[in-house]
């Protein structure tokens, strides 16, 4: 029972961290119509930024400034937001596809930097000893996980409220208007572009924050955490939840993560050892197919606003 509680808190924390990323994506795609296939990259930038800022000094690595966790989170948002802003500035005056291609490239390059810039990122082994909040109660798993869940839930709620507020603000109305009417957006030219860059950067910053929150939650990060599969998962979460709805983004994250973890546990229990890797591949096939089916039959998602996006 205790284990179950503890696991429940752990599960929910992970799911809500996905929820934060999905909220960031919803700002970019749901509200503004900007396509991002490099989510894993922006998420990783946040995680590494915060890790480098907050870890204690190590001999063979740049960074290790030992700063407070809050500073790490701010740094994560700033750096991921900056990366997103540059991506936006480079592509948002061009056709939508160029943004998609460039974000894909961002994720590739971030992956390379994580693997190869060992002096900064620790290479394939990543960064360890990332300070965890409430490390003092680590030996009491229920309490520890519960406290962490409160932090993650608090951040999720704060981002949720902030985005709800933003999307109802004049700023959010402009973004929606730009998304609905491509021609108006083009004729507005520079100012429309600047709105979109702002939205893309803000979404990137939210993803970066999610990366930082997760890094401090786990205490250890490595390039393997940030594979393209993560980007797929987040897209599936947003599409299931219904793009355009912040509530849907969070619910979709919990549902998809539950399906993912559940099917993972089922294959681990039922599939013989040498077929596990193949079963895991099939799990991803399922997500891909699901994404396509949603696009075909229910583009508004399951929890989204009634009015479809298409």
């Amino acid at each position: 029972m205790i284990d179950l509680l503890s696991y429940g808190a752990f599960f929910l924390s992970t799911a809500l961290i996905f929820g934060i990323i999905t909220l960031g994506l919803n700002l970019q795609w749901g509200l503004t119509g900007l396509f991002n296939v490099g989510i894993a990259g922006f998420f990783a930038i946040g995680a590494y930024a915060s890790a480098i800022l907050t870890t204690p000094e190590v001999a063979d690595r740049i960074g290790g400034f030992g700063l407070p966790i809050a500073v790490g989170w701010l740094g994560a948002m700033a750096l991921a937001g900056l990366a997103a802003a540059i991506t936006g500035i480079a592509t948002l005056r061009l056709k939508a596809d160029y943004l998609a291609i460039t974000t894909f490239g961002v994720a590739v390059v971030v992956q390379l930097v994580m693997l190869n810039a060992e002096a900064l990122t620790g290479g394939p082994f990543g960064v360890a000893f990332i300070p965890r909040p409430f490390a003092g109660v680590q030996d009491q798993p229920v309490l520890f996980n519960a406290l962490n869940l409160m932090v993650v839930a608090g951040v999720t709620l704060a981002i949720y409220l902030a985005l709800e507020h933003l999307s109802r603000s004049p700023w959010g109305r402009v973004l929606r208007a730009l998304r609905e009417d491509e021609r108006a957006a083009i004729s507005l030219g520079k100012s429309a572009r600047s709105y979109r860059v702002q939205a893309f950067a803000a979404g990137g910053a939210v993803m970066g924050l999610a990366g930082a929150v997760q890094a401090h939650f786990i205490g250890f990060i490595a390039p393997d955490n940030y594979l393209p599969t993560l980007t797929f998962q987040v897209w599936a979460m947003l599409m299931v939840g219904g793009s355009g709805s912040n509530r849907g983004a969070v619910l979709g994250s919990i549902v998809v993560w539950a399906i993912w973890v559940g099917s993972g546990a089922a294959t681990a229990a039922l599939v013989p050892g040498d077929w596990q890797a193949r079963a895991a591949a099939l799990q991803i096939v399922a997500i891909g197919v699901m994404l396509c089916l949603i696009l075909l039959w229910r583009p508004q998602g399951f929890f989204g606003p009634r009015r479809g996006r298409m």
Partner: protein, 302 residues
């Protein structure tokens, strides 16, 4: 400094260029960037492998042609693989892309291609596992050709094949009625219908050609390097970068840009280190987007 990188770059660039032709045609005619294009490449390579194995099982081992690492079954299998990849692309279009195309909203189609890419790639991992496989285990001796450059017979043969494919494509696009219709459709889809061009036929031709060339590129990677489910994903960024650098819709542009990227990658491997190779395409992509987004041979967007 060794000049070997020039040859390596040309070979690498040929594969990128062949793939980029499909990307650029898909973009110019079907109006979306197909994230599943790399996976067509991988599927083509595996389909060819399956056919080669099938032929070997039925007809027994065949002797290699001259100094090459492969014999006639490879050539038959390659043609079969290209046809199968074409059918796969048509099936994807029928199941997914055509339905979304009817609703407009190009970016939704991009997203669908992204989902399809993930499913296709993981399906390969499911079927063949993620460990690499090879068409042939034979080791080829590289011959010195002067200036410190060494080349294997396979490399020469595949460069010649690439050249033939590119020339053939160029002639097809400029001389054949279907090629002209494809160019016309990419310039003005509405007018194309008015002059009697059957759009469905153009769409089919685009998928068949793009997929067949992706398969050819995949086979080249398979012969010269190895076959892996992720091989297409790794080529995706260089192919996109080549299509954009060359100018969307331009086949000579895509090929030339592919060579430029291939050479830059090879130079990077030699000068900086192999681990940074994958960043080259991104650097070139960013440079093009900032300096000349229409690419080398592109025309300004209407």
């Amino acid at each position: 400094m060794s000049l070997q990188f020039i040859l390596d770059g040309l070979i690498n660039g040929s594969m990128i260029g062949l793939g980029a032709i499909g990307v650029t045609l898909t973009y110019a005619i079907l109006r979306f960037s197909n994230f599943a294009h790399g996976d067509l490449m991988a599927w083509g390579a595996y389909a060819t492998l399956a056919l080669v194995s099938g032929i070997a099982a039925l007809a027994g081992a065949a002797a290699p042609i001259g100094a090459l690492s492969f014999g006639w079954p490879m050539i038959v299998a390659a043609l079969g693989g290209m046809a199968l990849t074409g059918l796969l692309a048509l099936a994807l279009d029928w199941l997914l892309f055509a339905r979304l195309r009817d609703r407009g909203q190009a970016i939704i189609i991009v997203m669908a291609s992204f989902g399809a890419s993930m499913a296709l790639r993981s399906l390969l991992e499911f079927l063949f596992t993620s460990s690499p496989v090879y068409y042939s285990r034979a080791i080829q001796m590289a011959m010195p050709v002067g200036l410190g450059i060494r080349v294997t017979p396979d490399q020469i043969a595949l460069l010649v094949v690439t050249l033939a494919l590119v020339l053939g494509m160029h002639l097809f696009m400029t001389r054949s009625q279907t090629g002209r219709e494809m160019r016309a459709y990419s310039q003005n889809p509405a007018l194309a219908r008015v002059v009697g061009i059957d759009v469905a036929r153009i769409v089919r031709a685009t998928w068949l050609i793009g997929a067949a060339l992706a398969c050819a590129a995949g086979i080249m990677v398979g012969i010269l390097v190895q076959i892996r489910p992720l091989m297409g994903l790794d080529m995706l960024l260089p192919m996109f970068a080549a299509a954009i650098l060359g100018g969307i819709g331009s086949i000579p542009g895509a090929v030339l840009a592919g060579l430029i990227i291939g050479l830059s990658e090879a130079a990077t491997v030699q000068l900086i280190g192999a681990e940074w190779r994958a960043a080259v395409a991104f650097a070139i992509l960013m440079a093009v987007l900032f300096i000349r987004p229409m690419g080398l041979f592109g025309v300004a967007e209407r």
